[in-house]
Protein backbone atom coordinates (compact mmCIF):
# COMPACT_ATOMS: atom_id res chain seq x y z
CA UNK A 1 0.00 0.00 0.00
CA UNK A 2 2.75 2.38 1.01
CA UNK A 3 4.64 1.27 -2.06
CA UNK A 4 1.76 2.11 -4.39
CA UNK A 5 1.41 5.49 -2.69
CA UNK A 6 5.12 6.08 -3.25
CA UNK A 7 4.96 5.12 -6.92
CA UNK A 8 1.96 7.36 -7.41
CA UNK A 9 3.48 10.43 -5.74
CA UNK A 10 6.74 10.20 -7.68
CA UNK A 11 4.87 9.65 -10.94
CA UNK A 12 2.40 12.47 -10.35
CA UNK A 13 5.14 14.91 -9.47
CA UNK A 14 6.93 14.22 -12.74
CA UNK A 15 3.76 14.73 -14.73
CA UNK A 16 2.84 17.99 -12.98
CA UNK A 17 6.31 19.35 -13.45
CA UNK A 18 6.34 18.34 -17.09
CA UNK A 19 3.21 20.27 -17.95
CA UNK A 20 4.64 23.38 -16.29
CA UNK A 21 7.76 23.40 -18.44
CA UNK A 22 6.61 25.07 -21.60
CA UNK A 23 10.02 25.24 -23.31
CA UNK A 24 10.45 21.53 -22.81
CA UNK A 25 7.13 20.79 -24.45
CA UNK A 26 7.96 23.01 -27.40
CA UNK A 27 11.38 21.39 -27.76
CA UNK A 28 9.82 18.01 -27.54
CA UNK A 29 7.60 18.65 -30.56
CA UNK A 30 10.02 20.83 -32.47
CA UNK A 31 13.17 18.75 -32.31
CA UNK A 32 11.89 15.57 -34.03
CA UNK A 33 10.13 17.60 -36.72
CA UNK A 34 13.37 19.43 -37.36
CA UNK A 35 15.32 16.20 -37.60
CA UNK A 36 12.74 14.69 -39.85
CA UNK A 37 12.66 17.61 -42.25
CA UNK A 38 16.33 18.52 -42.34
CA UNK A 39 17.93 15.11 -42.18
CA UNK A 40 15.12 13.43 -44.02
CA UNK A 41 15.22 15.81 -46.95
CA UNK A 42 18.98 16.26 -46.99
CA UNK A 43 19.97 12.63 -46.75
CA UNK A 44 17.27 11.40 -49.05
CA UNK A 45 18.27 13.67 -51.91
CA UNK A 46 22.03 13.12 -51.72
CA UNK A 47 22.82 9.71 -50.33
CA UNK A 48 20.00 7.29 -51.04
CA UNK A 49 20.91 5.20 -48.01
CA UNK A 50 18.14 2.69 -48.56
CA UNK A 51 16.79 0.94 -51.64
CA UNK A 52 13.03 1.23 -51.40
CA UNK A 53 10.19 0.08 -53.64
CA UNK A 54 8.08 2.64 -55.44
CA UNK A 55 5.73 4.64 -53.24
CA UNK A 56 8.11 4.67 -50.27
CA UNK A 57 10.82 7.18 -49.55
CA UNK A 58 13.56 7.80 -47.09
CA UNK A 59 11.31 9.79 -44.74
CA UNK A 60 9.19 6.68 -44.31
CA UNK A 61 12.31 4.77 -43.35
CA UNK A 62 13.52 7.40 -40.95
CA UNK A 63 10.21 8.25 -39.30
CA UNK A 64 10.09 5.23 -36.93
CA UNK A 65 13.70 5.99 -36.06
CA UNK A 66 12.85 9.56 -35.18
CA UNK A 67 10.04 8.40 -32.91
CA UNK A 68 12.54 6.18 -31.12
CA UNK A 69 15.04 9.00 -30.93
CA UNK A 70 12.50 11.26 -29.25
CA UNK A 71 11.53 8.55 -26.84
CA UNK A 72 15.19 7.91 -26.08
CA UNK A 73 15.99 11.55 -25.35
CA UNK A 74 12.83 12.18 -23.38
CA UNK A 75 13.17 9.05 -21.27
CA UNK A 76 16.80 9.59 -20.41
CA UNK A 77 16.27 13.25 -19.73
CA UNK A 78 13.37 12.51 -17.39
CA UNK A 79 15.42 9.98 -15.49
CA UNK A 80 18.41 12.23 -15.19
CA UNK A 81 16.32 14.78 -13.32
CA UNK A 82 17.16 12.61 -10.32
CA UNK A 83 20.57 14.25 -10.36
CA UNK A 84 18.90 17.64 -10.03
CA UNK A 85 16.73 16.34 -7.26
CA UNK A 86 19.85 15.27 -5.45
CA UNK A 87 21.54 18.60 -5.99
CA UNK A 88 18.48 20.60 -4.95
CA UNK A 89 17.86 18.45 -1.91
CA UNK A 90 14.42 17.09 -2.77
CA UNK A 91 15.77 13.55 -3.11
CA UNK A 92 16.49 13.54 0.63
CA UNK A 93 12.85 14.23 1.40
CA UNK A 94 11.96 11.14 -0.62
CA UNK A 95 14.75 8.96 0.71
CA UNK A 96 13.77 9.40 4.37
CA UNK A 97 10.08 8.84 3.68
CA UNK A 98 8.62 5.52 4.79
CA UNK A 99 8.14 4.19 1.26
CA UNK A 100 10.37 1.45 -0.13
CA UNK A 101 13.17 2.73 -2.33
CA UNK A 102 12.18 0.45 -5.18
CA UNK A 103 8.82 2.18 -5.35
CA UNK A 104 10.64 5.49 -5.84
CA UNK A 105 12.67 4.03 -8.71
CA UNK A 106 9.57 2.46 -10.25
CA UNK A 107 7.57 5.68 -9.90
CA UNK A 108 10.36 7.53 -11.66
CA UNK A 109 10.49 4.93 -14.45
CA UNK A 110 6.73 5.18 -14.95
CA UNK A 111 6.81 8.98 -14.86
CA UNK A 112 9.49 9.12 -17.56
CA UNK A 113 7.64 6.53 -19.65
CA UNK A 114 4.41 8.48 -19.45
CA UNK A 115 6.07 11.65 -20.67
CA UNK A 116 7.76 9.72 -23.47
CA UNK A 117 4.40 8.28 -24.43
CA UNK A 118 2.94 11.76 -24.69
CA UNK A 119 5.83 12.62 -26.98
CA UNK A 120 5.38 9.49 -29.05
CA UNK A 121 1.67 10.10 -29.40
CA UNK A 122 2.26 13.59 -30.74
CA UNK A 123 4.63 12.13 -33.31
CA UNK A 124 2.22 9.40 -34.30
CA UNK A 125 -0.31 12.06 -35.18
CA UNK A 126 1.85 13.18 -38.09
CA UNK A 127 2.07 9.69 -39.61
CA UNK A 128 -0.75 10.27 -42.10
CA UNK A 129 0.90 13.50 -43.26
CA UNK A 130 4.00 11.71 -44.44
CA UNK A 131 1.87 9.10 -46.15
CA UNK A 132 1.85 6.28 -43.61
CA UNK A 133 -1.53 4.75 -42.92
CA UNK A 134 -2.23 3.39 -39.46
CA UNK A 135 -5.10 1.16 -38.47
CA UNK A 136 -6.50 1.43 -34.97
CA UNK A 137 -5.07 -1.96 -34.10
CA UNK A 138 -1.64 -0.92 -35.36
CA UNK A 139 -1.87 2.19 -33.21
CA UNK A 140 -2.59 0.15 -30.09
CA UNK A 141 0.31 -2.16 -30.89
CA UNK A 142 2.61 0.80 -31.40
CA UNK A 143 1.56 2.29 -28.11
CA UNK A 144 2.29 -0.90 -26.23
CA UNK A 145 5.67 -1.31 -27.90
CA UNK A 146 6.57 2.32 -27.31
CA UNK A 147 5.60 2.00 -23.69
CA UNK A 148 7.93 -0.96 -23.30
CA UNK A 149 10.74 0.93 -25.02
CA UNK A 150 10.17 4.06 -22.90
CA UNK A 151 10.08 2.06 -19.71
CA UNK A 152 13.32 0.27 -20.52
CA UNK A 153 15.06 3.49 -21.55
CA UNK A 154 13.92 5.46 -18.50
CA UNK A 155 15.16 2.64 -16.29
CA UNK A 156 18.42 2.79 -18.19
CA UNK A 157 18.54 6.52 -17.49
CA UNK A 158 17.96 5.91 -13.78
CA UNK A 159 20.93 3.55 -13.68
CA UNK A 160 23.08 6.30 -15.17
CA UNK A 161 21.60 9.02 -12.95
CA UNK A 162 22.18 7.15 -9.72
CA UNK A 163 25.90 7.06 -10.49
CA UNK A 164 26.14 10.71 -11.48
CA UNK A 165 27.20 13.25 -8.89
CA UNK A 166 26.34 16.43 -10.76
CA UNK A 167 24.70 17.58 -13.95
CA UNK A 168 28.13 18.34 -15.42
CA UNK A 169 28.60 14.68 -16.25
CA UNK A 170 25.46 14.70 -18.35
CA UNK A 171 27.19 16.16 -21.40
CA UNK A 172 29.63 13.26 -21.41
CA UNK A 173 26.83 10.72 -21.05
CA UNK A 174 24.97 12.42 -23.87
CA UNK A 175 27.94 12.39 -26.22
CA UNK A 176 29.33 8.97 -25.47
CA UNK A 177 26.28 6.89 -24.69
CA UNK A 178 23.02 8.44 -25.83
CA UNK A 179 24.03 9.85 -29.22
CA UNK A 180 25.89 6.67 -30.28
CA UNK A 181 22.87 4.67 -29.18
CA UNK A 182 20.76 6.73 -31.53
CA UNK A 183 23.14 6.62 -34.50
CA UNK A 184 23.75 2.88 -34.16
CA UNK A 185 20.08 1.99 -33.81
CA UNK A 186 19.37 1.81 -37.51
CA UNK A 187 17.24 4.91 -37.22
CA UNK A 188 18.95 6.80 -40.05
CA UNK A 189 20.78 4.06 -41.96
CA UNK A 190 19.97 0.36 -42.10
CA UNK A 191 21.91 -2.42 -40.53
CA UNK A 192 22.27 -4.22 -43.85
CA UNK A 193 25.41 -3.32 -45.72
CA UNK A 194 27.48 -1.69 -42.97
CA UNK A 195 30.99 -3.02 -42.16
CA UNK A 196 31.05 -6.07 -39.93
CA UNK A 197 32.39 -4.32 -36.82
CA UNK A 198 29.65 -1.78 -37.03
CA UNK A 199 27.01 -4.39 -37.53
CA UNK A 200 28.13 -5.96 -34.26
CA UNK A 201 27.78 -2.63 -32.46
CA UNK A 202 24.38 -2.10 -34.00
CA UNK A 203 23.21 -5.53 -32.95
CA UNK A 204 24.39 -4.76 -29.41
CA UNK A 205 22.49 -1.49 -29.30
CA UNK A 206 19.21 -2.19 -27.52
CA UNK A 207 17.51 0.66 -29.35
CA UNK A 208 18.01 -1.19 -32.66
CA UNK A 209 15.28 -3.60 -31.64
CA UNK A 210 12.97 -0.79 -30.65
CA UNK A 211 13.31 0.91 -34.03
CA UNK A 212 12.91 -2.44 -35.77
CA UNK A 213 9.80 -3.32 -33.79
CA UNK A 214 8.13 -0.07 -34.81
CA UNK A 215 9.03 -0.62 -38.47
CA UNK A 216 7.59 -4.11 -38.11
CA UNK A 217 4.22 -2.63 -37.28
CA UNK A 218 4.34 0.25 -39.74
CA UNK A 219 5.35 -1.77 -42.78
CA UNK A 220 3.67 -5.09 -42.06
CA UNK A 221 2.10 -6.38 -45.26
CA UNK A 222 3.54 -3.64 -47.47
CA UNK A 223 5.99 -4.17 -50.36
CA UNK A 224 8.60 -2.24 -48.35
CA UNK A 225 8.59 -4.73 -45.48
CA UNK A 226 11.66 -6.66 -46.68
CA UNK A 227 13.86 -3.59 -47.07
CA UNK A 228 12.68 -1.85 -43.92
CA UNK A 229 12.78 -4.61 -41.32
CA UNK A 230 15.73 -6.66 -40.08
CA UNK A 231 14.40 -8.91 -37.31
CA UNK A 232 11.07 -10.56 -36.66
CA UNK A 233 8.66 -8.83 -34.30
CA UNK A 234 9.03 -11.68 -31.83
CA UNK A 235 12.79 -11.21 -31.76
CA UNK A 236 12.40 -7.48 -31.25
CA UNK A 237 9.85 -7.82 -28.49
CA UNK A 238 11.90 -10.44 -26.69
CA UNK A 239 14.93 -8.16 -26.62
CA UNK A 240 12.90 -5.12 -25.54
CA UNK A 241 11.07 -7.12 -22.87
CA UNK A 242 14.24 -8.61 -21.42
CA UNK A 243 15.83 -5.19 -21.53
CA UNK A 244 12.93 -3.65 -19.60
CA UNK A 245 13.08 -6.25 -16.87
CA UNK A 246 16.86 -6.19 -16.53
CA UNK A 247 17.08 -2.39 -16.56
CA UNK A 248 14.35 -1.79 -13.99
CA UNK A 249 15.92 -4.35 -11.66
CA UNK A 250 19.32 -2.73 -12.06
CA UNK A 251 17.77 0.73 -11.69
CA UNK A 252 16.07 -0.23 -8.43
CA UNK A 253 19.21 -1.82 -7.20
CA UNK A 254 21.53 1.06 -8.03
CA UNK A 255 19.01 3.55 -6.67
CA UNK A 256 18.99 1.70 -3.40
CA UNK A 257 22.74 1.83 -3.07
CA UNK A 258 23.45 5.23 -4.51
CA UNK A 259 24.10 7.48 -1.56
Amino acid sequence: MRAIQGIYVIWLRDIIRFFREKPRIIGMIGQPLLYLTIMGTGLASTLRPVQLPAGFDYIDFMYPGIICMSVLFTSVFSAVSIVWDREFGFLKEVLVAPVPRWSVALGKALGGSTISMIQATILLVIAPFIGLKLTFLALIKLWLILFLISFALTSFGIIIASRMETMQGFQVIMNFIIMPMFFLSGAIFPLKGVPGWMEILMRLDPLTYGVDAIRNIFFAGTPAYESMVTFSLTQDLTVIGVMGVVFIILATWSFNYAK
Binding site: R13, E93, V96, P98
Partner: protein, 325 residues
Protein backbone atom coordinates in the same frame (compact mmCIF):
# COMPACT_ATOMS: atom_id res chain seq x y z
CA UNK B 1 11.66 3.73 27.03
CA UNK B 2 14.69 5.18 25.30
CA UNK B 3 13.51 6.33 21.93
CA UNK B 4 17.01 7.06 20.68
CA UNK B 5 20.04 5.16 21.81
CA UNK B 6 23.53 5.78 20.48
CA UNK B 7 26.51 3.68 21.53
CA UNK B 8 30.12 4.44 20.60
CA UNK B 9 29.04 5.97 17.33
CA UNK B 10 31.82 6.81 14.90
CA UNK B 11 31.50 8.32 11.42
CA UNK B 12 34.49 8.80 9.17
CA UNK B 13 34.48 10.50 5.80
CA UNK B 14 37.53 8.84 4.26
CA UNK B 15 40.21 9.69 6.84
CA UNK B 16 38.34 12.51 8.52
CA UNK B 17 36.47 11.63 11.68
CA UNK B 18 33.31 13.72 11.79
CA UNK B 19 31.70 11.92 14.72
CA UNK B 20 34.12 10.53 17.22
CA UNK B 21 32.74 7.85 19.51
CA UNK B 22 29.68 9.50 20.96
CA UNK B 23 27.17 8.01 23.42
CA UNK B 24 23.78 9.32 24.44
CA UNK B 25 20.17 8.35 24.74
CA UNK B 26 16.92 10.27 24.50
CA UNK B 27 13.73 9.56 26.43
CA UNK B 28 10.32 9.44 24.88
CA UNK B 29 8.68 12.85 24.80
CA UNK B 30 11.90 14.67 25.51
CA UNK B 31 13.20 17.75 23.72
CA UNK B 32 16.85 16.96 23.22
CA UNK B 33 19.28 19.52 21.85
CA UNK B 34 22.60 19.33 20.08
CA UNK B 35 24.61 22.48 20.49
CA UNK B 36 27.91 22.98 18.74
CA UNK B 37 29.94 25.09 16.34
CA UNK B 38 30.02 24.60 12.56
CA UNK B 39 31.43 21.25 11.55
CA UNK B 40 30.97 19.72 15.00
CA UNK B 41 29.16 16.71 13.58
CA UNK B 42 25.55 17.60 14.38
CA UNK B 43 24.07 17.09 10.94
CA UNK B 44 26.16 13.99 10.39
CA UNK B 45 24.67 12.43 13.52
CA UNK B 46 21.15 13.26 12.35
CA UNK B 47 21.81 11.78 8.91
CA UNK B 48 22.99 8.55 10.49
CA UNK B 49 19.96 8.36 12.78
CA UNK B 50 17.65 8.98 9.82
CA UNK B 51 19.30 6.26 7.67
CA UNK B 52 20.67 8.66 5.07
CA UNK B 53 24.26 7.85 5.95
CA UNK B 54 25.83 4.59 7.02
CA UNK B 55 27.86 4.65 10.21
CA UNK B 56 31.51 3.61 10.42
CA UNK B 57 31.27 1.83 13.77
CA UNK B 58 29.11 1.69 16.86
CA UNK B 59 25.39 1.17 17.24
CA UNK B 60 22.38 3.41 16.93
CA UNK B 61 18.77 2.53 17.71
CA UNK B 62 15.70 4.54 16.96
CA UNK B 63 12.38 3.54 18.45
CA UNK B 64 14.07 0.25 19.26
CA UNK B 65 15.13 -0.40 15.64
CA UNK B 66 18.72 -0.72 14.52
CA UNK B 67 19.35 2.09 12.03
CA UNK B 68 21.69 -0.11 10.02
CA UNK B 69 19.61 -3.26 9.93
CA UNK B 70 16.03 -1.98 9.90
CA UNK B 71 16.12 1.27 7.94
CA UNK B 72 12.53 0.92 6.73
CA UNK B 73 11.16 0.69 10.26
CA UNK B 74 13.32 3.58 11.35
CA UNK B 75 12.00 5.70 8.48
CA UNK B 76 8.44 4.96 9.53
CA UNK B 77 9.24 6.32 12.97
CA UNK B 78 10.76 9.68 12.10
CA UNK B 79 10.16 13.09 10.61
CA UNK B 80 12.83 15.55 9.52
CA UNK B 81 13.47 19.18 8.84
CA UNK B 82 16.85 19.28 7.16
CA UNK B 83 19.34 22.06 7.55
CA UNK B 84 19.32 22.75 3.82
CA UNK B 85 16.17 23.08 1.79
CA UNK B 86 14.63 19.91 0.40
CA UNK B 87 11.51 21.43 -1.11
CA UNK B 88 10.58 20.97 -4.74
CA UNK B 89 10.75 24.54 -5.95
CA UNK B 90 8.84 23.85 -9.13
CA UNK B 91 5.80 22.71 -7.23
CA UNK B 92 3.43 24.91 -5.30
CA UNK B 93 3.52 25.08 -1.52
CA UNK B 94 0.38 23.00 -1.34
CA UNK B 95 1.73 20.32 -3.67
CA UNK B 96 4.83 20.03 -1.54
CA UNK B 97 2.70 19.51 1.55
CA UNK B 98 0.22 17.12 -0.05
CA UNK B 99 2.95 14.95 -1.58
CA UNK B 100 4.60 14.76 1.82
CA UNK B 101 1.35 13.73 3.45
CA UNK B 102 0.84 11.06 0.79
CA UNK B 103 4.36 9.71 1.14
CA UNK B 104 3.71 9.36 4.85
CA UNK B 105 0.35 7.70 4.30
CA UNK B 106 -1.82 10.29 6.02
CA UNK B 107 -5.48 9.95 4.95
CA UNK B 108 -6.85 12.88 2.98
CA UNK B 109 -9.39 13.94 5.60
CA UNK B 110 -6.68 14.23 8.23
CA UNK B 111 -4.05 15.93 6.15
CA UNK B 112 -6.43 18.57 4.88
CA UNK B 113 -7.07 19.66 8.43
CA UNK B 114 -3.43 19.59 9.43
CA UNK B 115 -2.45 21.46 6.30
CA UNK B 116 -4.56 24.39 7.39
CA UNK B 117 -3.11 24.20 10.88
CA UNK B 118 0.54 24.25 9.91
CA UNK B 119 0.02 26.84 7.20
CA UNK B 120 -1.52 29.17 9.72
CA UNK B 121 1.36 28.72 12.10
CA UNK B 122 3.91 29.66 9.46
CA UNK B 123 1.61 32.29 7.96
CA UNK B 124 1.60 30.97 4.43
CA UNK B 125 -2.12 30.32 4.08
CA UNK B 126 -2.57 32.91 1.35
CA UNK B 127 0.43 31.60 -0.62
CA UNK B 128 -0.47 27.90 -0.83
CA UNK B 129 -0.94 27.90 -4.58
CA UNK B 130 2.23 29.79 -5.40
CA UNK B 131 5.28 28.05 -6.86
CA UNK B 132 7.92 27.66 -4.18
CA UNK B 133 10.66 29.06 -6.40
CA UNK B 134 9.07 32.48 -6.03
CA UNK B 135 9.29 32.31 -2.23
CA UNK B 136 11.79 34.28 -0.18
CA UNK B 137 14.38 32.39 1.84
CA UNK B 138 12.44 32.79 5.05
CA UNK B 139 9.20 31.68 3.45
CA UNK B 140 10.87 28.54 2.11
CA UNK B 141 12.19 27.80 5.56
CA UNK B 142 8.75 28.24 7.05
CA UNK B 143 7.21 25.93 4.50
CA UNK B 144 9.92 23.37 5.15
CA UNK B 145 9.08 23.41 8.84
CA UNK B 146 5.36 23.24 8.17
CA UNK B 147 5.94 20.18 6.02
CA UNK B 148 8.07 18.55 8.71
CA UNK B 149 5.26 18.96 11.22
CA UNK B 150 2.51 17.49 9.02
CA UNK B 151 2.82 13.96 10.25
CA UNK B 152 3.26 12.91 13.86
CA UNK B 153 6.19 10.52 14.05
CA UNK B 154 7.90 9.08 17.11
CA UNK B 155 10.86 11.42 16.69
CA UNK B 156 11.14 14.71 14.82
CA UNK B 157 14.64 15.84 13.87
CA UNK B 158 15.00 19.56 13.48
CA UNK B 159 18.39 20.56 12.07
CA UNK B 160 18.77 24.27 12.79
CA UNK B 161 15.10 24.69 12.04
CA UNK B 162 14.53 28.35 12.60
CA UNK B 163 17.66 30.00 11.22
CA UNK B 164 16.70 33.24 9.53
CA UNK B 165 13.22 33.43 10.98
CA UNK B 166 12.00 36.29 13.10
CA UNK B 167 11.37 35.88 16.82
CA UNK B 168 7.60 35.90 16.52
CA UNK B 169 7.50 33.08 13.99
CA UNK B 170 10.01 31.12 16.01
CA UNK B 171 7.95 31.32 19.14
CA UNK B 172 4.76 30.34 17.31
CA UNK B 173 6.51 27.31 15.86
CA UNK B 174 7.83 26.36 19.25
CA UNK B 175 4.40 26.67 20.80
CA UNK B 176 3.10 24.21 18.23
CA UNK B 177 6.00 21.82 18.77
CA UNK B 178 5.43 21.78 22.51
CA UNK B 179 1.77 21.12 21.91
CA UNK B 180 2.59 18.17 19.62
CA UNK B 181 4.81 16.84 22.32
CA UNK B 182 2.04 16.97 24.86
CA UNK B 183 -0.80 15.64 22.77
CA UNK B 184 1.07 13.21 20.52
CA UNK B 185 4.04 12.27 22.68
CA UNK B 186 6.46 13.25 19.91
CA UNK B 187 10.14 13.35 20.81
CA UNK B 188 12.15 16.28 19.48
CA UNK B 189 15.80 16.08 18.46
CA UNK B 190 17.09 19.54 17.72
CA UNK B 191 20.30 21.20 16.66
CA UNK B 192 20.59 24.92 17.00
CA UNK B 193 22.82 27.93 17.23
CA UNK B 194 20.26 30.02 19.06
CA UNK B 195 20.65 30.14 22.80
CA UNK B 196 17.04 31.00 23.44
CA UNK B 197 16.01 28.05 21.34
CA UNK B 198 18.34 25.78 23.26
CA UNK B 199 16.52 26.84 26.42
CA UNK B 200 13.49 24.95 25.09
CA UNK B 201 15.36 21.70 25.57
CA UNK B 202 14.98 19.32 28.47
CA UNK B 203 18.57 18.27 27.97
CA UNK B 204 21.42 19.53 25.86
CA UNK B 205 24.51 17.82 24.53
CA UNK B 206 27.35 20.16 23.70
CA UNK B 207 29.31 18.71 20.82
CA UNK B 208 32.66 19.88 19.53
CA UNK B 209 34.97 18.25 16.99
CA UNK B 210 32.78 15.18 16.86
CA UNK B 211 32.82 14.60 20.60
CA UNK B 212 30.20 15.27 23.25
CA UNK B 213 31.89 17.51 25.81
CA UNK B 214 28.89 17.92 28.13
CA UNK B 215 25.37 16.61 28.45
CA UNK B 216 22.86 17.89 30.96
CA UNK B 217 19.82 20.07 31.55
CA UNK B 218 20.28 23.75 30.63
CA UNK B 219 20.16 24.69 34.33
CA UNK B 220 22.80 22.17 35.34
CA UNK B 221 25.00 23.21 32.44
CA UNK B 222 24.81 26.81 33.53
CA UNK B 223 25.92 25.86 37.01
CA UNK B 224 29.23 24.92 35.43
CA UNK B 225 29.94 28.60 35.19
CA UNK B 226 30.58 29.56 38.76
CA UNK B 227 29.17 33.06 39.08
CA UNK B 228 28.65 36.26 37.18
CA UNK B 229 30.13 37.11 33.85
CA UNK B 230 31.99 40.37 33.53
CA UNK B 231 32.78 41.51 30.02
CA UNK B 232 35.11 44.45 29.39
CA UNK B 233 37.01 46.16 26.65
CA UNK B 234 39.95 48.51 26.38
CA UNK B 235 41.86 50.32 23.68
CA UNK B 236 44.20 47.33 23.62
CA UNK B 237 42.34 44.16 24.51
CA UNK B 238 45.47 42.03 24.38
CA UNK B 239 47.18 44.17 26.98
CA UNK B 240 44.07 44.11 29.17
CA UNK B 241 43.91 40.34 28.82
CA UNK B 242 47.53 39.92 29.90
CA UNK B 243 47.17 42.31 32.83
CA UNK B 244 44.09 40.50 34.11
CA UNK B 245 46.02 37.25 34.12
CA UNK B 246 49.38 38.49 35.32
CA UNK B 247 48.38 41.18 37.82
CA UNK B 248 45.13 39.78 39.11
CA UNK B 249 45.55 36.06 38.58
CA UNK B 250 42.15 35.87 36.92
CA UNK B 251 41.08 33.23 34.43
CA UNK B 252 40.40 35.67 31.65
CA UNK B 253 39.12 34.70 28.19
CA UNK B 254 39.56 36.66 25.00
CA UNK B 255 36.24 37.09 23.21
CA UNK B 256 35.26 38.84 20.04
CA UNK B 257 35.46 42.47 21.10
CA UNK B 258 36.96 42.24 24.52
CA UNK B 259 37.88 40.15 27.48
CA UNK B 260 35.66 38.20 29.80
CA UNK B 261 36.09 36.86 33.33
CA UNK B 262 33.98 34.80 35.65
CA UNK B 263 33.62 36.02 39.20
CA UNK B 264 31.58 35.07 42.21
CA UNK B 265 30.38 38.54 43.12
CA UNK B 266 30.32 40.84 40.15
CA UNK B 267 28.80 43.86 41.88
CA UNK B 268 31.75 44.33 44.21
CA UNK B 269 34.37 43.06 41.77
CA UNK B 270 33.76 45.76 39.16
CA UNK B 271 34.51 48.85 41.32
CA UNK B 272 37.65 47.18 42.69
CA UNK B 273 38.89 46.30 39.25
CA UNK B 274 38.28 49.76 37.82
CA UNK B 275 40.08 51.47 40.66
CA UNK B 276 43.09 49.22 40.17
CA UNK B 277 43.15 49.68 36.39
CA UNK B 278 42.71 53.42 35.90
CA UNK B 279 42.28 54.57 32.29
CA UNK B 280 42.44 51.02 30.99
CA UNK B 281 38.83 49.92 30.78
CA UNK B 282 36.63 51.63 28.24
CA UNK B 283 33.61 49.40 28.63
CA UNK B 284 32.37 46.97 31.24
CA UNK B 285 29.21 44.93 31.75
CA UNK B 286 27.87 42.36 34.15
CA UNK B 287 25.42 39.57 33.51
CA UNK B 288 24.27 36.15 34.63
CA UNK B 289 25.72 33.15 32.77
CA UNK B 290 24.03 31.86 29.62
CA UNK B 291 24.52 28.68 27.67
CA UNK B 292 26.90 30.59 25.47
CA UNK B 293 29.20 31.03 28.45
CA UNK B 294 29.05 27.34 29.18
CA UNK B 295 29.88 26.72 25.59
CA UNK B 296 32.79 29.12 25.70
CA UNK B 297 34.12 27.52 28.83
CA UNK B 298 33.90 23.99 27.46
CA UNK B 299 35.12 24.56 23.94
CA UNK B 300 37.15 27.74 24.21
CA UNK B 301 34.99 29.22 21.46
CA UNK B 302 31.94 31.37 21.34
CA UNK B 303 28.96 29.99 19.55
CA UNK B 304 28.08 33.37 18.22
CA UNK B 305 31.50 33.82 16.76
CA UNK B 306 30.59 31.37 14.05
CA UNK B 307 27.09 32.62 13.76
CA UNK B 308 26.54 34.95 10.92
CA UNK B 309 23.45 36.99 11.14
CA UNK B 310 20.56 34.67 10.40
CA UNK B 311 19.74 36.31 7.11
CA UNK B 312 23.30 35.83 5.90
CA UNK B 313 23.17 32.13 6.65
CA UNK B 314 19.97 31.92 4.72
CA UNK B 315 21.58 33.69 1.84
CA UNK B 316 24.64 31.49 1.93
CA UNK B 317 22.39 28.48 2.02
CA UNK B 318 20.38 29.59 -0.97
CA UNK B 319 23.19 31.19 -2.91
CA UNK B 320 24.37 27.89 -4.31
CA UNK B 321 20.99 27.44 -5.89
CA UNK B 322 20.40 30.79 -7.42
CA UNK B 323 23.05 30.00 -10.02
CA UNK B 324 20.63 27.61 -11.66
CA UNK B 325 17.78 30.00 -11.93
Amino acid sequence: MKVIEVNNLVKKYNDFTAVNNINFSVDEGEVFGFLGPNGAGKSTTIKILSTLLTLTSGKAYLNGYDVQKEPNKVRSSIGLVFQETTLDERLTAKENLVFHAMLYGIPKKIYQKRLQQVLEIVELTDRVDTLVKTFSGGMKRRLEIARGLLHYPKVIFLDEPTVGLDLQTRSRIWEYIHQLRKTEGVTIFLTTHYMDEAENCNRIAIIDNGKIVALNTPEKLKERVSGDIVTMASADNNRLYKRLINEFGLEAEMIKDGVQVETAKGETFIPQLISKLPNEITYISLRKPTLNDVFLKLTGREIREELLDGKEIMRARLGRRSRFK
